[in-house]
């Protein structure tokens, strides 16, 4: 039986047994996050660490007497042992709600919906993967991570709701390094991801990366900090868009004084009419249901032509502030961001930039002044100085400190006509699901400080 099938059966078996133990007034939601993954870490085109991870993590959200308790544990896979653990946690939850203060913002999912989605994939044979990367390692300094296998997210509750999402896919998130004419390390970033492995597509990704790497072999151009025209490639835009999920478009964060976009939300500032951002589950990269089993709208406009349309609101926030929710997840971050394309064709990027910086990637972004939506971070990987629409030289990395209001507002000159799909590659605790679709952006002026 496949890992997906055993995980589903385990969830259903445990659910049926635990729900059968509930008494009147008790509500229970179960969440299963499971993965059967192979992680292969490479350095210099060779395997540094090979790790298989098979894990099934069950979360129990229990509500009774106007209180809520959350427990999570790693399933052993044996239903009798796991049921004993789950029932002992149920007993503990019953004891806790007699000791805890009342929670005024509890919610119950009224709609008893059901859904089941499985995306079948074709993973690379291990020897084929090692052969391609080994050969690449002989012509370039390849470093990176392959992650491939099955992921499952599922929710059931005691009212009968049941959603399951499972997928089989992979990514190779890699860097190619070289040393330029001045003896400096230079690198390009590549990502090949999908459900169906095609060796030819991976080789094409590597070929394009090698081509860009050659552009970095010249002597680097040290640039003084200051203000420059810049073009951000989609991967760089994606890094900035990720910050929107750090409270910026969360209703709860706004009410708590913790949203960077407070001035936009309160209509003191507008962004550029060229900037639109939505939560778009039609991308198909992540399940529409959240950890309570609520199903989000297929598409939700967050910012439209520079004006705020919707904040993300989970049901607890909705209850607390008495506003309608939109089935956001607990942290009210974007799960499937989709930035609208513009009119700047890929082929015209350098000529439109004219004189300025082409930024391939950004690194280590953080707020530097939350109240003014100011962020800091570094350029990284393939970044070039461009003159008269031609790449002249790679740059030495620069630190920036700039506000989202200028990036997506006053300084936004054009948005790319095509967008890139970028699968999430973070693997903290377990491999993430989801991804984004973003185009590049041309800015009139951008502030570098170090």
């Amino acid at each position: 039986m496949s890992f997906v099938q055993t995980s589903r059966e385990l969830l259903d078996g445990l659910g049926n047994a635990v729900f059968g133990q509930l008494i009147s007034g008790e509500e229970l939601t179960l969440n299963l996050a499971a993965e059967d993954q192979h992680y292969l870490r490479f350095n210099g085109g060779r395997v540094r660490q090979s790790t298989r991870v098979r894990q099934q993590r069950l979360a129990l959200r229990y509500q009774a007497l106007g209180r809520r308790v959350d427990f999570t544990f790693d399933l052993s896979g044996g239903i009798a042992a796991d049921l004993e653990t789950a029932l002992s946690l149920l007993q503990r939850a019953r004891a806790e709600v007699t000791a805890l203060p009342e929670d005024a913002y509890l919610t119950v999912v009224e709609q008893v919906e059901r859904g089941d989605v499985h995306h079948e994939g074709r993973l690379p044979p291990l020897d084929a993967l090692l052969t391609v990367i080994g050969e690449e390692g002989r012509s370039a300094d390849f470093t990176g991570l392959y992650a491939g296998g099955t992921q499952l997210r599922a929710t059931r509750n005691s009212r009968g709701l049941r959603h399951v999402f499972s997928t089989e896919n992979f990514f190779v998130d890699y860097s190619l390094y070289t040393v330029n004419a001045a003896g400096e390390n230079k690198a390009v970033k590549g990502l090949y991801a999908g459900r169906h492995w095609e060796a030819g597509q991976f080789l094409e990704s590597l070929r394009r990366s090698r081509e860009r790497l050659r552009l970095l072999e010249g002597v680097g151009r040290p640039l003084e900090p200051g203000n420059y025209r810049v073009y951000f490639a989609p991967a760089a835009v994606d890094a900035i868009i990720a910050l929107f999920s750090w409270g910026a478009v969360s209703y709860s964060a706004w009410k708590k004084g913790d949203s960077a976009l407070m001035k936009l939300i309160e209509d003191e500032v507008r962004l550029s009419p060229l900037f639109s951002l939505s939560e778009n589950f039609a991308l198909g990269l992540t399940p529409r249901f959240n950890s309570l089993g609520e199903v989000a709208p297929e598409s939700l406009s967050v910012i439209e032509q520079g004006r705020l349309r919707n904040l993300l609101i989970n049901s607890r926030t909705a209850r607390e502030y008495e506003v309608p929710g939109n089935a956001a997840e607990v942290g009210e971050g974007l799960r499937s961001p989709d930035m609208a394309t513009g009119t700047l064709p890929e082929a015209n990027v350098l000529s439109a930039l004219d004189n300025g910086l082409y930024i391939g990637n950004l690194h280590y972004l953080n707020w530097s002044d939350l109240q003014h939506a100011r962020i800091t971070g570094m350029t990284r990987y393939a970044c070039f100085w461009v003159e008269n629409g031609q790449i002249v030289a790679p740059i030495r990395d620069l630190r920036f400190d700039e506000t989202l209001y200028r990036i997506f507002g006053s300084e936004l000159e054009a948005v790319g006509a095509t967008a890139e799909w970028i699968m999430r590659t973070d693997t903290y605790h377990q491999r993430s699901v989801g991804g984004s679709r973003v185009p590049g952006m041309l800015l009139r002026d951008f502030r570098f400080t170090l």
Binding site: H38, L40, R41, N43, R46, V47, Q49, S50, T51, R52, R54, Q55, Q56, R67, V69, D70, F71, F73, D74, L75, G77, A81, E84, T85, S88, L89, R92, A95, E96, A99, L100, E102, D103, L126, L130, G134, T143, L145, S175, Y177, K255, K256, D258, H363, W367, S368, D369, L370, Q371, R374, T376, M378, R380, D397, R399, T403, Y428, H429, T449, L450
Partner: protein, 490 residues
Amino acid sequence: MTVSLAIEPKLTDFDPLAALAWIRPEADWLAIRYVHENTYRRCARNGRPEENAMHLERGVMIEAMVDGRLAYAATSDLSREGVIQAARRAAGDARATAGDRLADFSPDWRPAVQGCQNASSAAWLDSTSLAEFSDRLIQATQRLRVTDDVVTAVAEAVLLETETRYVASHGTDVAQRFLMTWQHFGAIAQAGGETQSRSMNGPTARCVQGGMETFGWDALLDDCQRVGEQALELLQAENCPDEVLDLVLAPDQMLLQIHESIGHPLELDRILGDERNYAGWSFVKPEDFGRLQYGSPLMNVTFDPSLTGEFAAYAYDDGGTPATREYLIREGRLLRGLGGLESQSRLGLPGVANFRSASWNRAPIDRMGNINLEPGSASMEEIMGSVRRGISMEANRSWSIDDYRNKFQFGCEYARLIEDGRLTRVLKNPNYRGITVPFWQSLAAVGKADSFKAYGTPYCGKGEPNQVIRVGHASPPCLFRAVQVFGGGA
């Protein structure tokens, strides 16, 4: 019956030594690292409960060596069949990747030691009732909310019980238990279009080993009042100036400065390039050890897993290497990197016992443990007295550094101007930036032992697949000359 904080769910027994015998035929050499960790998160906001959760992690990581090649497989299935299957997966991968390995594995990198370390606490979790503890957290939010201008007051406690056992087929058997806590008490104030945050030492800095005795509630509640008042103070404060000034960093900001600009660049796996596709490389080169003048002669930095109560104190790393205190930097000169036996062997350089993993489902890599700046000889009066015009900053709120660990920019919650040797006006939005080696070479005074304080973070991220790990950083206040400081605003 009183409900205590401690939770003891029913779990099947698991004996790592017996499991090692089950899998012994599967490979030339094998090891099992068993981890059981309970993480309790109790949180209140604005006088109400916000979260009451417990997260139980339990599983094993199998290491299997075949023909000198090593591979890992992790599973939460602790049945005999589950563990054997994991061992077979690891052994199969060791064979399959044999021709593509970066380095051969040596069982010598997992010392054949036997030992144990037990957690110590004056008050275990079962000594405190859940109702009483919840009430304390709610009281804390009430004390933080000194006026209605404090729109958000949060009190959060994380309690952590960890048990690990590492056994290997050549005789290693190391058992360790830990009890830890971390605390966050924070206030966000709003008035007149201004919003400011203040917390007790920064959002995740108050991390220690110990139990319920680490919650001295009378003092904590008084401190919550101070935090709330300082959030209001910041609403009225002027912006930090944009100027080159002398800079005094409190221990709760030194933790971040040490972490980002000493800890990460000294990790040997970064220097080896393992981390280049994610967190980055390092400006430090192998030939710099023993030669590079990293900072001023006042700079003495240790890897110290032995400091009682510090967050990342331990007796053995996750490869079974006994952990000892070592100088990384002495009188400003770089001596030793942060790398376990694997990296030490690959680089031919000395390191420390820091081969660590986030949990049972991740293979160990080189991580920080407790990285401390040792005390100097200056009193606070002497430090302040040596500054004509400068800024004193406390509690980290923003951090960013490049992938080689050179160009950094850090921000703090709270600052005060220093004028003619005295602390004067409060400043909001304090930030500073610099470049690692010149910055540490500008170190001009280091506080005495009585000002040495230990903090940490539970959220140090690194590795592929990604791992978060707990680290400790202790330091006295330090003075740096001529640093670029600046404030907030558009």
